[in-house]
């Protein structure tokens, strides 16, 4: 991953298994969010390839990319709700574009998705009328609109109080169990990493490459690299 001549991260090779809750972690500024952008196709890798299953995502034709992205749901750090549309319209947009549901069916499904994240009754509110935490939940409802089997969360716990963060973790686990979704999370909230993570990759800002890969609990106890163990123990030896 590079910006012009500046290489942000190199030699990243890892697999996200189906049904994993895969954590991308590392210190501040190491390129976690940038990696996420690459996985979503928002940035092109300077070198290398990203595969969804056996299909190359990086070199896919636009039509194939569209097809692959239809299976993906993304929750952005601040929700990234479309500010000129109500919450219901936000959730309804993918439904309207990519399904054959009638408008009234779409309205029902959108209301259902919002209810699932605890926002029943807020369908006609605009994003600017609700709190940050509620915006995140609405963003999640939208990410789940098409029942994706691959979900990406960019710092989901950021700005949430401890209880809300715990509820979000429980929701993520529920999504994995009931929808069979594979989830990729960018985060550095240790509580969440250990509560939900089954696999992970650790990006290092100094050496600009990945220095650990595997189950977070394993890495905390047995990682080769001192820095990884320190990170996962919040600086304790």
């Amino acid at each position: 991953m590079a910006y012009g001549d500046f290489v942000l991260q190199r030699d990243l090779t890892f697999d996200v298994g189906m049904g994993d809750i895969f954590v991308i972690m590392g210190g501040s500024g190491c390129g976690k969010s940038t990696l996420l952008r690459h996985l979503l196709g928002l940035n092109q890798p300077a070198e290398g390839e990203i595969l969804y299953g056996n299909d190359s995502f990086t070199h896919a034709a636009p039509a194939d990319r569209t097809r692959l992205l239809r299976r993906v749901g993304v929750l952005y750090q601040s929700g990234a709700l479309w500010s000129s549309m109500t919450l219901a319209e936000n959730v309804s947009l993918p439904l309207g574009e990519f399904t054959d549901l009638t408008p009234s069916e779409i309205r029902e499904v959108a209301a259902l998705k919002l209810a699932l994240v605890g926002l029943a009754g807020f369908e006609d509110y605009y994003p600017s009328d609700i709190s940050g935490g509620m915006q995140k939940r609405a963003g999640l409802a939208r990410a789940m609109a098409l029942d994706p089997d691959l979900l990406f969360f960019d710092e989901p716990g950021a700005g949430l109080d401890p209880i809300s963060a715990r509820l979000l973790d429980d929701l993520i686990l529920e999504l994995r169990d009931s929808l069979g979704a594979t989830i990729v999370v960018v985060t550095h909230e240790l509580a969440s990493i250990f509560a939900i993570g089954t696999n992970s990759v650790f990006l290092d800002a100094e050496t600009r490459t990945m220095i650990a890969h595997g189950d977070p609990t394993e890495l905390r106890d047995h990682a080769d690299d001192e820095r990884v163990r320190q990170f996962l123990r919040r600086g304790e030896a």
């Binding site: 979503l40 928002l42 993304v74 574009e97």
Partner: protein
């Protein structure tokens, strides 16, 4: 506490025989209270670096970060000259702050490169940048053409409600200012023309002047300039703000092209509205001319209208409206392009809005020039 307020900051240096430099600090060392200079200490180091530096702060009053800056400088000086820095004479809080300030060594490559490039280097760099910017602009136009092709096949993804709102915002909402500006333009043209033509006794031809000028070129151009400021800026700012909040990314990862969803309705709206606004502006301009005719030249409305009708042909009207619609497309494309190219901070969105207006203006002026040339060649 003594009744009198402590005197202003004072720093005195004393040399002791054992190679110690004693720095005596007294008074109130705070950021607001006058010069906090380490010049005396620096002089000592320059002339004869001491073996150690000690401090006497018994008469030091209130202090804040002003004194900390001084301490850091002296500490750096001692390090540079290999002198021992004895911080024991400093107040406890100050000593701890000093240690904190020096705890993390400066990161080697963190300081931004500020090399003052030579003039020739700067020309070269700027040329390369311009070349890649030009490529970006062409890329945008290419993607837009693809999106337009999809639209014509009926497969483009945007919301009709967005298009309707844009039509209202860029058509109906623009009527007041278009009315004002085109009316005044017609009035000014007539006034200037009348002043000249009256001396030939040919004042009636003011109607021709205003009519032909407005309908052929000025109506479309001035309306285009108004809309460049209105729509060019708003499109750039709207799309730029969406980039900042990641709303455009959210569209992309939902497999909805921002080009189709955001740019297409804006271009369609403006290309529909500009011809109508141009016609309206033409009419308002002629009304302004008629006003001058009536008040200054004693021309009745009917006389003015008949004279204008004689001078302005259907070809002229169609030509002017065509130019107007081309300007509309150019303004929308320029505004959206700059919005998509916006950076991620609030000041970047402001820059994008400015750039949207400027690019729109340049585009329509260049188009106007080209039209004049081509129309002349074609005898239109």
């Amino acid at each position: 506490m003594s009744a009198a307020a402590p005197p202003n900051a004072d720093l005195a240096v004393e040399r002791h025989g054992d190679g110690t430099l004693l720095v005596r600090l007294s008074g109130t060392w705070q950021l607001g209270s006058g010069a906090l200079s380490s010049a005396a200490v620096e002089r000592e180091f320059d002339t004869d670096p001491p073996e150690r530096v000690r401090f006497d702060t018994t008469t030091l009053g209130a202090w804040d970060s002003g004194i900390l800056a001084l301490m850091v400088k002296i500490s750096a000086l001692s390090r540079a000259h290999g002198s021992e820095f004895d911080a024991s004479g400093l107040p406890n809080g100050l000593e701890r702050l000093l240690r904190l300030a020096e705890a993390v060594p400066e990161k080697g490559d963190a300081r931004a490169e500020d090399a003052e490039k030579r003039f020739v280097d700067r020309i070269g760099t700027k040329t390369l940048e311009t070349q890649s910017l030009f490529r970006d602009d062409l890329d945008f136009l290419g993607r837009f053409a693809l999106a337009m092709a999809r639209a014509l096949r009926g497969k483009a993804r945007f919301r009709m409600s967005d298009l309707v709102l844009l039509v209202q915002q860029n058509g109906i909402d623009a009527l007041p200012i278009v009315t004002l500006v085109t009316f005044l333009l017609g009035l000014i043209l007539a006034f200037v023309g009348a002043t000249a033509l009256q001396s030939f006794g040919a004042a009636i031809y003011v109607a021709d002047l205003v009519g032909v000028a407005m309908v052929r070129d000025m109506g479309a151009l001035i309306t285009g300039i108004i809309m460049a400021g209105r729509s060019g800026a708003s499109f750039a700012a709207q799309i730029g703000s969406m980039k900042v909040t990641q709303e455009t990314d959210a569209l992309t990862t939902m497999a909805i092209s921002p080009m189709e969803f955001l740019v297409l309705p804006r271009v369609i709206a403006l290309s529909l509205m500009m011809p109508l606004l141009t016609l309206y502006g033409n009419a308002m301009g002629m009304l302004g001319g008629a006003f001058v005719g009536y008040t200054m030249l004693d021309l009745s409305g009917l006389e003015y209208f008949q004279q204008t009708a004689g001078a302005v042909g259907l070809n002229d009207v169609i030509g002017g409206v065509f130019k107007g619609s081309v300007y509309g497309v150019l303004i929308a494309l320029a505004g959206c392009l700059r919005g998509m190219q916006s950076g991620k901070s609030s000041s970047a969105v402001g820059d994008a809005a400015t750039s949207g207006v400027v690019t729109s203006l340049v585009a329509i002026i260049v188009a106007c020039g080209l039209f004049s040339f081509v129309f002349y060649l074609l005898g239109l």
